[in-house]
């Protein structure tokens, strides 16, 4: 990496900063309870809940910071926040 003058950065440069390590609670997906409403995917502030073609979602744990918005907003409690343990 080189610092451009004034710290100007091109789009997408934060991909290299994997922020998953900030997470304390991990979203656990109960696919059987999911009704494919897509709210979790729409509201994720880090674009880490990705809707698939079949309507279900997958979680990108490289960038999910564990904020829990997806679990809080899920109308069917299909996302559970569990403590990260080694």
């Amino acid at each position: 990496m080189k610092i451009a003058i004034g710290g100007m950065v091109e789009p997408g440069s934060t991909r290299v900063n994997k922020t998953g390590g900030w997470r304390i609670y991990r979203p656990l997906y109960h696919k059987d309870m999911c009704i494919k409403c897509g709210i979790c995917s729409l509201l994720c502030p880090d674009s880490s809940v990705k809707a698939q073609e079949d309507g279900y979602v997958i979680f990108d744990y490289d960038y999910c910071k564990g904020c829990g918005i997806c679990a809080y907003e899920c109308p069917k409690d299909a996302i559970e926040m569990v403590l990260e343990e080694k």
């Binding site: 610092i3 003058i5 004034g6 710290g7 100007m8 950065v9 091109e10 789009p11 440069s13």
Partner: protein, 401 residues
């Protein structure tokens, strides 16, 4: 260039000369907030805009100085040539943004019409306002007269916008003493200014069609390098200012000196140092003292940031005593800022000349020729018998304290 420059002169207010210089630099965004004694500059610019004399320029009347400079951050990042001017409390209110502009490497130019800072409230001149912004990463140039403030304006843009510099610049002029005084000035010619100052073409601009991030976050693993790169920009600016001065002289035919200027300094045993309009008074006093056989000369600082360490060392090398006049004080050190800089560039050298500091002209207190003569008398004693008092206030009224 003309045969007789007198024919090209007009008698105008210092603020008008400044506004006119800004106009011919073809700015794209001007933000204006009134504060004495700067207000006439933006009033004149407002009139130019109203008269259709500045093409492709937005004039923003804004709600505070903090916003005035913040607006220019966005405008400059979007590729505009930007301008504002301020004084005293206005500059202090901008302080946070002053750092942002230089950290983001945006080449804004701002005229600082120097005025004392509150409290106690004072609208009159000293240098405490701009000196307080010394470490913010802005180029700081100081003008002696209206012609110089005029001529420094395109020069400031040229250096600031140089791709190897990319630092903002403050052009400083003494409030009232220059801003409100009418002097004969050659107003900058549009065709010559166009030849001297090319349009601003930044490498990166803020653009919705091609999004980029400006002013991003830096964690401890990269922050140091930002400061290092700003300092490198300042180092390069030293050379670029000299180069820009040469080119100015070639095109406009005027020469006020480079990073520094000197007056009767070649054989001087006593070297006076100062910045701004007081230099004119000092030159007159030097002429008078020379008649009496006193070998006194002047070293005028034009570029306070970057500070011209080498040029100062070279000029001071043969003096018997160095006398620094400051219109500011670092409270707690009992020393003016220029005096501190001069001492710092003489340490670790072979030059072991006494440096005397005088703090004067605070809050617009008049600096008379008599005061300068008195300072020269004191310095003659120091040249003979060594220094006892390093720094002192001048003209303190004992009857008031």
């Amino acid at each position: 260039m003309t045969d007789n420059p007198m024919e090209k002169m007009s008698v105008v207010e210092g603020s008008y000369a400044t506004a006119h210089a800004v106009k011919v630099c073809r700015p794209n965004v001007i933000s204006a907030y009134p504060i004495t004694p700067q207000t006439h500059i933006v009033e004149d610019l407002s009139q130019f805009i109203a008269d259709g004399e500045i093409d492709n320029c937005e004039f923003i009347t804004i709600e505070s100085e903090f916003s005035a400079l913040s607006a220019l951050v966005g405008a400059s990042a979007a590729g505009a040539r930007t301008y504002s001017s301020t004084s005293s409390q206005g500059l202090e209110l901008m302080h946070e943004v002053v750092f942002n502009v230089s950290g983001m490497r945006l080449p804004t130019v701002m005229t600082v019409v120097n005025r004392a800072v509150s409290a106690p409230i004072s609208i009159w001149n000293d240098h405490q306002d701009s000196i307080s912004e010394r470490d913010t990463g802005w180029i700081q140039l100081y003008a002696e007269n209206s012609q110089e403030i005029s001529d420094l304006t395109p020069l400031a843009y040229k250096v600031a916008e140089d791709k190897d510099v990319m630092l903002p610049a403050m052009v400083c002029m003494d409030g009232f003493i220059l801003s409100h005084v009418f002097e004969p000035v050659v107003l900058l010619e549009q065709d010559l200014t166009d030849e001297y100052l090319p349009p601003y073409r930044p490498e990166h601009i803020l653009d919705t069609k091609n999004p980029k991030t400006f002013g991003s976050f830096a964690d401890p693993s990269v922050y140091t390098e930002f400061r290092y790169m700003q300092q490198k920009g300042m180092d390069i600016a030293l050379k670029k200012i000299e180069k820009a001065v040469d080119e100015f002289t070639r095109i406009f035919g005027r020469d006020h000196g480079g990073l520094i200027d000197t007056y009767r300094a070649d054989d001087a045993e006593i070297l006076l140092m100062a910045m701004g309009s007081v230099v004119g008074t000092i030159k007159d006093v030097i002429d008078e003292a020379r008649i009496d056989g006193i070998k006194v000369g002047l070293l005028k600082i034009r570029s306070f940031r970057p500070f011209p360490v080498e040029a100062v060392r070279k000029t001071l090398a043969d003096a018997a005593v160095i006398v620094v006049l400051d219109k500011n004080i670092s409270l707690g050190l009992n020393e003016g800022s220029l005096c501190t800089e001069v001492k710092s560039c003489l340490y670790n050298t072979d030059i072991n000349t006494p440096v005397m500091g005088f703090m004067l002209g605070h809050g617009g207190r008049d600096i008379s020729k008599g005061t300068i003569h008195m300072i020269i008398d004191k310095s003659q004693k120091v040249a003979r018998s060594g220094i006892k008092v390093e720094n002192e206030f001048v003209d303190v009224r004992g009857d008031l304290i």
